[in-house]
């Protein structure tokens, strides 16, 4: 077993660091680092910088604009980006719908959408969940009825992240309800400007509105926007789940949060010293750091397996559970670290660029309780942690 980074990977890490130092706009990094909400423009600006460098789509085949990196290099890249405070690349286009289009889309779809995704010309959102279909996604009921060269789509999607910015939505719709639930589902690409679409923001418990209801009322979608075959949408959606299976652990992001937590613990007074000297807090900090190390170790092991060409195992479910536990644990400790100043609700302090007042309390404080509340979503979305445990019980333990 050889656990140190190879000389090649170490050099790659330096290259990524140099690029970030050179090209990541400091104002965007500062916003992201202090918990500010990023605007659509911030995201697009950063993604276009990545595109210019040729690093927008590390997971894609080289001939389509990918980087040809090894799994380990992709991991290094993600981690360095997170540590530098780079915005997360919005995954709906580049890592979610693109692989499905590549694998199952028509040539026309590939030619049209993939370059636009690469250049961030289109903002994509995901139309999967419905009010009655969460963990039990296959029960979805949004209906698509064939009418000549079109499908007429009616129904409601929910929890649709950043749909307010979206140009396109990839969505699962029901084209047949006569047989098995999974067999009547079709994968459609829907233009968000189509008549009959209404996007309604959902305010979440942290006071933000990043998720939406998307109502579809007799929306006409060209049959040419169907990916693959009618009734095979479930297979395509599952293919997507097997993709990028280690990034769900968000190790880089958690490392950045841990660093922030330590900085706050060094700044917060406690007794006659600071919080980082508080033995109770120090132990809890140590515990979460160990959890994160264990998580990273499993990620590295999975990356190694992927590089060695082994088929994907159930690690995605382990990584989802542990990854979200670590993320949530960190947000919990951040709230705890800041003490009574977790309470003031000052959203303008981390949502508005032009807010010139000083927040009450330390400037790192206002974003922390909302972050904690917001991050409860992590153990719910993408297949709740209970569902992940079901998967492990079935596939690993054979129960």
């Amino acid at each position: 077993m050889e656990l140190a980074l190879s000389a090649e990977d170490a050099a790659f890490r330096e290259e990524v660091r140099a690029f970030l130092k050179d090209r990541l706009p400091p104002e965007i990094a500062a916003k992201a680092g202090s918990g500010f909400r990023l605007s659509k423009d911030d995201h697009v600006r950063w993604q276009q910088i990545l595109f210019e460098k040729g690093w927008m789509a590390p997971g894609w085949p080289v001939e389509l604009g990918g980087t040809g990196w090894t799994a380990m290099q992709k991991h290094i890249f993600d981690e360095e980006c997170a540590l530098a405070g780079a915005p997360m690349v919005i995954p709906f286009g580049v890592t979610m719908v693109a692989p499905v289009i590549m694998a199952f889309g028509s040539q026309e779809q590939k030619d049209r959408y993939l370059p636009r995704i690469l250049r961030s010309d289109d903002w994509w959102c995901q139309g999967y969940s419905e009010p009655g279909s969460g963990s039990d996604l296959a029960s979805l009921r949004t209906k698509a009825v064939r009418d000549g060269d079109h499908y007429v789509v009616t129904g409601q999607k929910t929890w649709t992240t950043l749909a307010q910015h979206a140009d396109m939505m990839f969505t699962l719709v029901r084209t047949d309800d006569s047989g098995k639930q999974q067999e009547g589902i079709t994968f459609l690409l829907i233009d968000m400007k189509s008549p009959g679409i209404t996007v309604q923001p959902i305010t979440t418990i942290d006071g933000s509105a990043e998720i939406n209801n998307v109502f579809l009322d007799d929306v006409r979608v060209p049959v040419a926007n169907r990916v693959g075959e009618e009734g095979k949408g479930w297979t395509y959606a599952k293919y997507l789940l097997g993709h990028e299976r280690t990034s769900i652990a968000a190790v880089g992001r958690s490392k950045a949060q841990l660093r922030k937590l330590k900085a706050i613990a060094r700044a917060e007074a406690s007794g006659n010293g600071t919080l980082i000297d508080d033995p109770d807090f120090a132990l809890r900090l140590a515990q979460i750091e160990i959890d994160l190390l264990a998580l990273e170790s499993l990620v590295l092991r999975a990356l190694y397996a992927e590089t060695a060409g082994k088929p994907p195992g159930p690690e995605a479910s382990f990584l989802k559970i542990k990854g979200t536990e670590v993320q949530q644990g960190l947000t919990e400790l951040l709230v705890e670290a800041v003490g009574p100043y977790a309470a003031p609700f000052q959203p303008e302090a981390f949502r508005q660029d032009n807010w010139n007042e000083e927040p009450v309390g330390p400037d790192y404080a206002p974003a922390l309780a909302p972050l904690y509340f917001n991050w409860r979503k992590a153990s719910i979305y993408g297949g709740s942690n209970e569902i992940q445990k079901n998967i492990i019980a079935k596939t690993v333990l054979g129960l």
């Binding site: 969460g134 039990d136 418990i205 917060e268 009574p340 977790a342 309470a343 609700f345 909302p370 709740s384």
Partner: protein, 377 residues
């Protein structure tokens, strides 16, 4: 020993349950929260009419002389409905500090007005770097002529913006962490040198930072003995810990009920979520955490009135540690069991989750009181 409520306590519980179920629904609360001051004067008058504002105040000054158990009974119902009115700030903290340390004249001036709902108070004690340590007071009070000059910064003072009087702690002598040398002052927030920076809190209440910049108050503003206020502050805060914990227990109870209803209604995989054993066990653990916290809560409430010194402090610390832990767990699990719906502002469960989270932060979190308890053995 008896764990049964007295007849009066049962009547209080019944009337609180009835009144709040009728007048304090989720939507009514949201309307009140969105209004300018974040709470309702009309509701406050109703609380006065029901005798709730007078409940724990001394009989000599317009109060009913209720026990801490009585107070806990009421607070538990406040927790079930997430009451946003300044009861903790005015009655539990402010009036109690005056009742424990004020002169006859001061008590006669303030307490009857509190009981009648005509005057609200705020307890301006914690400071930006004080964290949860009650003795860590940097604000200063300096003698000048017949009065005192106050300077300092008070952090996250609950309901300060609407308070008619602030109860301000400041140091008259000694170093920042000395137990001696702290005094309490009754301060009109409108006097020169007092600036408020108000804001809503993440759990739907209102608070403010209070900046004192050479605020001048007369000698008659001093509450109790100059330099000897810390024991009073500790007693007031320990009783407030019980009140807050009772509120948390009520919130836990409501949260569990809401979650149980949701599990029975929500269908996935062709059956109600409530039929999944893994979710049933989760609910059982939540319920069990609540039951233990509630048992400890009423025991500690009794200890507030029947014991003194270390024993009383231990009861308060044990309780706050337990309710902090239980509230966090129940809140997190309730959101999880509600799935995506639990993340929405339109569902009550998130509001309970946020309140329980912030109760843990108020006057010391679970970790702080666990260590405090260990130190009191």
């Amino acid at each position: 020993m008896s764990f049964a409520f007295t007849e009066d306590q049962q009547l209080l519980a019944d009337s609180a349950a009835r009144f709040l179920a009728d007048k304090y629904g989720f939507d009514a609360r949201r309307t009140v929260m969105a209004a300018e001051n974040g709470w309702s004067r009309e509701m406050w008058r109703a609380f006065a009419d029901l005798g709730w504002l007078a409940l724990p105040l001394p009989e000599a000054h317009g109060g009913l002389g209720g026990s801490t158990v009585d107070l806990a009974v009421l607070m538990e119902h406040f927790g079930r409905h997430l009451v946003v009115e300044p009861y903790l700030a005015t009655v539990v903290l402010g009036a109690e500090a005056i009742a424990r340390s004020g002169s006859e004249t001061q008590q006669a001036e303030i307490l009857p007005q509190v009981a009648e709902g005509k005057l609200t108070l705020a307890f301006a004690h914690g400071e930006p770097t004080g964290r949860f340590d009650l003795a860590r007071i940097a604000a200063t009070a300096t003698r000048r002529g017949d009065g005192w000059v106050l300077s300092g910064h008070k952090a996250v003072v609950l309901h300060a913006q609407t308070a008619d009087r602030l109860i301000v702690s400041a140091r008259t002598s000694g170093e920042i962490t000395d137990r001696d040398g702290i005094a309490l002052f009754l301060v009109d927030p409108k006097v020169a040198g007092v600036t408020l920076r108000p804001y809503p809190t993440v759990d739907g209440l209102r608070a403010a930072d209070v900046i004192l910049d050479d605020a001048i108050v007369p000698d008659s503003a001093v509450l109790g003995e100059v330099g000897a206020a810390l024991p009073v502050i500790e007693q007031v805060v320990d009783r407030a810990l019980v009140a807050l914990s009772a509120e948390a227990v009520g919130a836990m109870d409501a949260t569990i009920a809401l979650t149980g209803e949701y599990l029975k209604t929500r269908q996935q995989f062709g059956r109600p979520l409530a039929s999944f054993q893994v979710l049933q066990h989760r609910m059982v653990e939540m319920l069990s955490a609540k039951e233990f916290a509630r048992a400890l809560c009423y025991r500690a409430a009794g200890a507030m009135d029947d014991t003194t010194g270390v024993e009383r402090a231990r009861a308060a610390a044990a309780l706050k540690s337990e309710t902090g832990r239980a509230g966090k767990r129940i809140g997190q699990d309730a959101v999880q069991l509600h799935g995506g719906m639990g993340m929405t502002d339109d569902m009550a469960v998130g509001h309970y989750f946020k309140r329980m989270t912030m109760i843990d932060v108020q006057f010391g979190n679970a970790a702080y009181h666990l260590r405090r308890f260990a130190g009191l053995s």
